[in-house]
């Protein structure tokens, strides 16, 4: 023991810090001495100490000096202006597979959204679920009670299915031509699709609306912007955030008045908030009232930078710990090791970096993982920078 202690220098501690990462890579390192050979290359790399600059707003052009600007800017424009619809339909539970009627649609919510403009319009309606199949009243009641709490019968606000569907289509597609893309969360897709088909059948309107998943949308935007694919887990956690649960002007009037969290409209709006908050900021868009519930957002911003951006810093930290995130984190680590003067907030500058690095070399991946633990502290500074 004593001689080991004598040999402790900064390199010792550097190696010690690396050990968990090395283990995660599956290397047999029990002690510092075992780990030394694996760390020497990292030690040789220049390490930048990021400066903390609270409230710094990063101008777009500053973000990436190495940006292949023309190409990415063009696609950016298309992305920013692109209009998406987020749709959700709630049901009174799900009936067992042998039943003909699998769902009982009772509430619908839809928002029109673009990264540039935020939420441009919304649509909400309660739906008359129709007669509840005999014997399933308990099942439906229990499902409703545990989620959206919409009464299963004698609900005064329920509209006729045909009318609701007509209104929805008018909302999504007022003019003839191509249908815009409509998205919902992947977990809800089967239900929403079934409900749409069911309502089409009962109303005699037929429009083959294609329903895509929000997760794919986020992955797509991310890929287009940063030429990297984020992990599904990261996307999922990005979309599942509690912070706007009680935000004003998010739920429908009925759910707001009865103080019930689960509302079809709120689900759609929260998707928009999450995308605005995490992706739109990466495009340098000034967040407006239409992007996120700003009054809550600003208030918190002034006091607590920690919670302004929930995704960036926090999920990057998570990523370091989770093997599932390793792909994604590599992009961040990469730039650190390549740009010695990397004092930009990590969440923003990713794009430039990636363009300089091609492929997904396994060595770089491993390097980046191993370097990740040493710069955890760094991510905290990106949180403030994203505020308007």
């Amino acid at each position: 023991m004593p001689n080991r202690r004598a040999s402790r220098n900064s390199y010792y501690f550097f190696v010690q810090e690396k050990i968990p990462e090395l283990r995660r890579r599956g290397l047999p390192v029990a002690r510092v001495t075992d780990a030394i050979p694996y760390c020497s290359s990292d030690w040789a790399k220049p390490v930048s100490t990021p400066l903390r600059r609270p409230g710094m707003l990063v101008p777009k052009q500053n973000v990436s000096p190495l940006d292949m600007s023309s190409l990415s800017l063009k696609s950016d424009q298309a992305l920013l202006g692109g209009i998406f619809y987020f749709l959700n339909i709630f049901s009174h539970g799900e009936l067992p597979p042998h039943c003909e009627q699998r769902f009982l649609p009772c509430e619908i919510g839809c928002v029109k959204y673009s990264l540039q403009e935020g939420i441009m319009a919304d649509f909400h309606s309660f739906i008359n679920p129709g007669e509840i199949p005999r014997g399933f009243r308990f099942h439906c009641q229990a499902a409703s009670d545990s989620s959206h709490k919409i009464p299963i019968s004698n609900f005064e606000f329920g509209h006729d299915q045909a009318i609701v569907l007509q209104n929805l289509y008018r909302f999504i597609h007022p003019h003839p031509g191509n249908w815009p893309p409509v998205y919902c969360k992947s977990d809800d897709r089967a239900r929403v699709n079934w409900c749409l088909k069911h309502m089409e059948k009962s109303s005699g309107i037929r429009q083959d609306l294609e329903l895509l998943t929000v997760e794919d949308l986020v992955v797509g935007i991310y890929q287009q912007k940063f030429l990297k694919e984020p992990s599904k887990t990261w996307v999922r956690s990005l979309l599942d955030v509690a912070m706007w649960d009680y935000s004003s002007n998010t739920r429908c009037k009925w759910h707001e008045e009865n103080d019930i969290l689960l509302c079809a409209l709120a689900v759609c709006k929260k998707i928009a908030y999450c995308i605005s908050n995490s992706l739109a900021t990466l495009f340098g868009i000034q967040l407006t009232e239409a992007h996120v519930p700003l009054q809550d957002y600003e208030a918190s911003n002034s006091v607590t930078p920690k919670m302004v951006v929930l995704d960036a810093g926090r999920y990057q930290k998570l990523r370091i710990h989770r093997p599932g995130f390793s792909h994604f984190s590599s992009s961040n680590q990469e730039q650190r090791s390549n740009i010695p003067t990397g004092d930009y907030p990590s969440g923003v500058k990713i794009s430039g970096q990636n363009s300089s690095v091609r492929g997904r070399g396994i060595i770089r991946l491993l390097e980046s993982i191993s370097s990740s633990s040493s710069n955890i502290h760094k991510f905290s500074n990106c949180e403030t920078s994203l505020s308007p």
Partner: protein
């Protein structure tokens, strides 16, 4: 008792769900068993519109054909698969002897009875075929039983397989019988197996025999247990009646075949659904009568006394009246009135009542049509306690008084059951024909291991009572506590003054504990969840150490939204307290002490320790719990200590989509825990002992084949030379055996630390029972430990004592608990996630007990 009080004190009292009651309390009373016993019946014959059991025409009506191997076989079989997993033979150090030796021997009475069989006893299994083939099981049975060759023999038949205790003369026998219609049916009986008494199939047959015997004692099977409607205990004040009964099992223990019985009660309401409905309509008026009835009744479990079966009300069909007809299985139409008159000799009085609809479970698992039973409200009795009744203290007390039997009362009930079985002529005959002899109640010798000393900061204290040492440590400093400098209190305007006085109290109790509490920033908000959450979002910054919320009501949305936000979105420890709790003036000091202790833990403090002789030991608790919100999701919690003193805890939790309660992610968890340990101790632990809770019947094999390899691989990868040694112990709080000590003329609960590792254990396992709790009322139930994997090779003695030591380390309760602390922590964690957050907690909190 403790569990409830603690929940209240922390301001998270919610409607006591079945899980809460069952788990938290580990209630010694049979009450919880009977309460949770509310699953709708899935028994074989129902009064249904589509499948109505009809009397078989004529003389071949079969009285004793009901019991079969298949019926209710699910549970038995799952237990059987567990029994075929022989883990002990792989553990060299306990192959010869798994008994410990330390401690004071104590004589214990059990609820097990000897079942004696002759040495050469055999069970003969036959296969029976019919020509022409016959569908009806009743008819098959009746035809077979009518034969003279079988009439005097002990037999059990499920329609295909016939069990006999005596061999037939020939291996293949051809018999013929005549139906009522005059058709001749040929039956071929072929011997397929001869089974020794130790075979698992025999255990199934024994269970069937005892089912028959209990039926002869006029007990009825409801759910899994047997109840006696003829001797109800009435509680007229609350319109309740309790049916006494027993949960029974027959199985092979260490060397003998034993019959076990435990007292159980069925709670029934002395009110028919019809009475309930008319009452409701009088109260609310006719206009919204149907709606309120649906609201109040749907989902309740009813019992029909004419056949003692339970059903869940899934729907009410207002369009059907008792005078309407339905189609019987044979195609004939009959009115409900006539049907009940013919079948049960019951005359319906109200001919305008609607019918209740109950979905029947599809036993055959084919996705055919949905089967529904129509029930007449007049004949349906409500069972269980209504939702609001569980919060009715007087009612619960009255029920508990009857159901929470003292050790002596329990023993008397058991003795009477044994007496009845031996005295009843039919019962005795049944046993005798099978060659069984119902013996005496078994007693065995257990050991009381020495009590433990509690280590606090400046001294070691020997608590007066191991059940609760809060008094012993009132003036003692706890092991370590972070001082609370920057924190937030959020309360409603109304609760301002009570909050102030509570904070004063908190500071006062904190000082002697060594827990320094500074003045918090107090935010006053409106009384709604949104306002609380907004305030948290607005004022929590990275320096805030803890957020305390004084909740105006126990509405679940307050607690859920706060916990969800503060445990995953913005990871800060949080403490919720009900304002109502703080209004109890006289108890302020003790409430404040409890909350102070809990807050210290949430900030990463350590309260007390026990002496652990093993240096470098990591103990792990794993629990699995179903998510309350989304079906098909289970929450897996993992808690492990990160210091050799076993006072600091690392935790991980994940939601996984699966149908079985088997954990997927243990490798990641274990590696995380080992990393954490390495960081703190600059080395790996020498030994790891995993306590796995939340294991259902029949999962033992999966555990061994799926979970242990995950743990092993992460342990072996952790180090290249000497990897830590691993042991895995399955912990079960529900087990049939009970142990009582005899003192003088009366019986008592055994003292905490009582270990039983013989007699009531299984020969194929390395298992033991440990009583690590004290109760003042009712009978205590032991916790059952089964060591399924053991590299450590600790002596059984040491394993038992270590387990007992770990029962002292749960920081939410200054006393012994019924399971090792890591299990209880893992349970708390999964419970928080499954009930409130439904989201993986942030890793930033992984090193504190934020879930307490």
């Amino acid at each position: 008792m403790s569990g409830r009080a603690r929940v209240r004190a922390r301001g998270m009292a919610r409607s006591p769900s079945a899980a809460e009651v069952g788990r938290m309390q580990a209630s010694p009373s049979p009450l919880s068993v009977a309460l949770s016993d509310s699953e709708a019946s899935s028994s074989s014959d129902h009064v249904g519109t589509s499948r109505i059991s009809q009397k078989y025409e004529g003389g071949l009506s079969s009285g004793d054909a009901g019991c079969t191997v298949k019926e209710r076989g699910g549970k038995i079989r799952r237990e059987m698969t567990d029994l075929s997993v022989c883990t002990r033979e792989k553990l060299a150090h306990v192959r010869d002897c798994k008994r410990g030796s330390s401690g004071i021997p104590v004589k214990l009475v059990t609820n097990l009875f000897n079942l004696d069989l002759p040495q050469d006893w055999r069970l003969y299994q036959y296969h029976v075929t019919y020509s022409p083939d016959i569908e009806s099981r009743r008819l098959r049975t009746a035809l077979l039983y009518s034969r003279r060759e079988l009439s005097n023999k002990a037999k059990a038949f499920d329609g295909v397989i016939l069990f006999l205790s005596q061999k037939l003369e020939e291996k293949v026998m051809e018999l013929s019988s005549e139906t009522q219609r005059g058709e001749t049916v040929k039956m071929t009986i072929t011997l397929t197996r001869e089974l020794p008494a130790s075979s698992p199939v025999c255990i199934q047959v024994f269970s069937i025999i005892f089912k028959k015997i209990l039926k002869k004692l006029s007990m009825y099977q409801i759910g899994r247990n047997f109840y006696k409607p003829s001797e109800p205990v009435e509680i007229p004040r609350h319109k309740l009646s309790l049916w006494p009964g027993f949960a029974i099992s027959v199985s092979h223990f260490e060397s003998k075949l034993l019959f076990g019985a435990d007292v159980s009660y069925k709670i029934l309401r002395n009110e028919t659904v019809l009475e309930f409905m008319t009452d409701l309509c009088h109260k609310t008026g006719m206009s919204c009568c149907t709606q309120t009835c649906e609201k109040q009744l749907i989902g309740l479990i009813v019992l029909t006394r004419y056949n003692n079966k339970t059903y869940r009300i899934d729907d009410i069909d207002w369009s059907v009246k008792p005078t309407h007809t339905f189609q019987k299985r044979d195609g004939t139409e009959i009115t409900y009135v006539d049907y009940y008159k013919q079948q049960y000799d019951i005359t319906l009085s109200d001919l305008n009542q609607p019918v209740l609809v109950s979905l029947l479970k599809n036993k055959r698992n084919d996705d055919a049509d949905v089967r529904m039973a129509h029930l007449i409200p007049e004949l349906c009795y409500l069972t269980g306690l209504p939702g609001q009744a569980t919060s009715d203290f007087q009612l619960m007390k009255a029920v508990a008084e009857e159901t929470r039997l003292s050790p002596l009362g329990r023993q008397q009930r058991l003795a009477r059951l044994a007496d009845d079985i031996q005295r009843n002529k039919d019962a005795r005959f049944e046993l005798e024909t099978w060659g069984l002899h119902f013996g005496c109640q078994m007693s065995l010798t257990g050991r009381v291991v020495p009590s433990e000393k509690i280590i606090i900061q400046d001294h070691i204290c020997e608590p007066v009572s191991a059940a609760d040492w809060s008094k012993d440590m009132r003036t003692c400093k706890i092991l370590s506590a972070q001082s609370l400098n920057k924190w937030l209190v959020i309360c409603s305007n109304r609760a301002e003054s009570v909050t102030e006085s509570f904070l004063n109290c908190l500071r006062r109790v904190g000082r002697p504990l060594g827990f320094n509490v500074d003045q918090p920033k107090i935010m006053k908000v409106q009384e709604n969840p949104a306002a609380f959450l907004h305030a948290i979002q607005k004022y929590v910054d990275p320096e805030v150490q803890l957020v305390m919320c004084i909740l105006p009501s126990n509405q679940k949305s307050y607690y859920d939204s706060i916990k969800k936000y503060l445990s995953s979105d913005c990871p800060v420890p949080s403490q919720c307290v009900l304002a109502q709790t703080l209004n109890k003036q006289g108890m302020m000091m003790s409430i404040a002490t409890k909350i102070a202790l809990q807050m210290t833990c949430k900030l990463g403090g350590e309260l007390w320790a026990v002496e652990i002789p093993l240096k470098s030991l990591m103990v792990v608790g794993i629990d699995v719990c179903k998510d309350a919100f989304s079906q098909g999701m289970v929450v897996v919690g993992f808690v492990a200590n990160s210091n050799p003193r076993i006072t600091r805890w690392f935790s991980r939790c994940v939601l996984q989509r699966t149908s079985a309660d088997v954990a997927d992610c243990l490798k990641v968890f274990m590696t995380g825990a080992l990393n954490r340990w390495y960081k703190h101790n600059h080395g790996l632990p020498a030994r790891i002992i995993v306590y796995r809770d939340g294991v259902g019947d029949g999962q033992l094999k999966t555990l061994i084949e799926y979970e242990i390899p995950q743990l092993l691989s992460s342990v072996s990868e952790a180090s290249s030379n000497t990897s830590p040694k691993l042991s895995v112990i399955v912990v079960r709080k529900k087990c049939l055996p009970r142990f009582l000590t005899e003192t003088g003329r009366t019986l008592q609960n055994p003292p905490p630390g009582t270990v039983v590792d013989s007699g009531a254990t299984r020969p194929e396992w390395y298992d033991f029972y440990l009583i690590s709790r004290v109760t003042c009322r009712g009978t205590i139930s032991p916790t059952y430990y089964n060591v399924i994997y053991d590299d450590n090779g600790l002596k059984p003695d040491h394993m038992q004592r270590l387990t007992f030591k770990l029962c002292h380390l749960y920081y939410n309760w200054p006393g012994l608990i019924s399971v090792p602390a890591p299990c209880q922590y893992a349970h708390k964690l999964t419970f928080l996630v499954a009930q409130s957050t439904h989201k993986e907690p942030s890793l930033e909190l992984a090193n504190s007990l934020f879930y307490l």
